[in-house]
């Protein structure tokens, strides 16, 4: 792999995870905030809220993971390596 391709791949891998983490980060913050509010209002519903929260957090996390998959492909299975 020539040096330009490898440099571009590494930068792109960093960007893929870094940019991909922004949106889910905001979303997870909103979701967790809503859950805390819900528990504060109705402490007896904590178990149900926690289950739903964990499930939805994992869904949001999946979006970053897609970025991570792209980064891993660029680093370990680069199709442009030639």
């Amino acid at each position: 792999m020539d040096s330009i391709t490898s440099a571009a791949s590494v930068v792109a891998a960093g960007l893929a995870v870094g940019l991909g983490a922004i949106g889910p980060g905001i979303g997870q913050g909103t979701a967790a905030g809503g859950a805390v509010e819900g528990i504060a209002r109705q402490p007896e519903a904590e178990g149900k809220i926690r289950g739903t929260l964990l499930l939805s957090l994992a869904f949001m996390e999946a979006l970053t993971i897609y970025g991570l998959v792209v980064a891993l492909v660029l680093l370990f299975a680069n199709p442009f390596a030639g």
């Binding site: 994992a58 869904f59 999946a62 891993l72 370990f76 390596a81």
Partner: protein, 242 residues
């Protein structure tokens, strides 16, 4: 492709290196087969041991199995609905248990003690082929569920509530397996990578929290995969009430 510059024997990580077996014209990843056989064997042994000499008051392994059955039944019933969940309970349960035991087995069993000529043993779900196969099985399952329960009326689902939804619903059929497989694969591989990188930087103590987080997320991923599979099947068998 590029082996990471790891020196520690137990923290070595070989992404993209496989133990290739030749099967006819196919090249298969042997290490995935080996570790999934171990997982399948462990599950089979657990179930066989737990269902021998069953008692009215469950104890030990039988108790564990009954707890698991209750858990999976509740999950399937919640997503698929009272009418159809019994047909799909074995499928959902198998998916959940296989993925769960794979994820935890990959993290808890010291695979590094077994040396392979190439590649490394680990969670079978850290290989994209395993997760794609599981996700395509889910696709087949929900098509079969819908078609067998409703016949060709199943395709009404694509034009409900309006025909404008048709392209989106068709695209959804492709994105469902894509997101299912990538989510599982990415999470498990990410866990392994984080632990390996931390173990490379600081070999003692520091990777432990990441390992526990990994155990937690891999259990959640198994739950999510099974829940989503059940949800898709439930969507396919759901009857509209007019």
């Amino acid at each position: 492709m590029v082996p990471l510059p790891f020196a520690l024997p137990f923290a070595e990580l070989e992404v993209g290196q496989h133990l290739y077996w030749q099967l006819g014209n196919l090249k298969i990843h042997g290490q995935v087969f080996l570790s999934s056989w171990v997982v399948i064997g462990a599950l089979l042994a657990l179930v066989v041991v737990g269902t021998r000499k069953m008692e009215r008051d469950p104890r030990g392994v039988q108790n564990l199995l009954e707890f698991l059955w209750d858990y999976i039944r509740d999950m399937a019933r919640e997503q698929i609905g009272e009418k159809a969940y019994r047909d799909w309970l074995p499928f959902i349960g198998t998916l959940f248990l296989f993925i769960f035991v794979s994820n935890w087995g990959g993290a808890l069993v010291p695979w590094k003690l077994i040396h392979l000529p190439s590649g490394e043993l680990g969670a079978p779900t850290a290989d994209i082929n395993t997760t794609v196969a599981l996700a395509l099985l889910v696709s087949l399952a929900y098509f079969y569920a819908g078609l067998s329960r409703k016949g060709f009326r199943y395709f009404e689902y694509y034009v409900e509530p309006t025909p404008i939804m048709l392209p989106f619903k068709i695209v959804e059929d492709f994105t469902k397996p894509l997101s299912l497989s990538f989510r599982l694969f990415g999470n498990i591989l990410a866990d392994e990578l984080v632990v390996a990188v931390l173990a490379f930087l600081v070999p003692l103590v520091v990777p432990l929290p990441a390992m526990f987080l990994g155990l937690f997320t891999s259990a959640i991923q198994a739950l999510i995969f099974a829940t989503l599979a059940a949800y898709y099947i439930g969507e396919a068998v759901h009857e509209e009430h007019h």
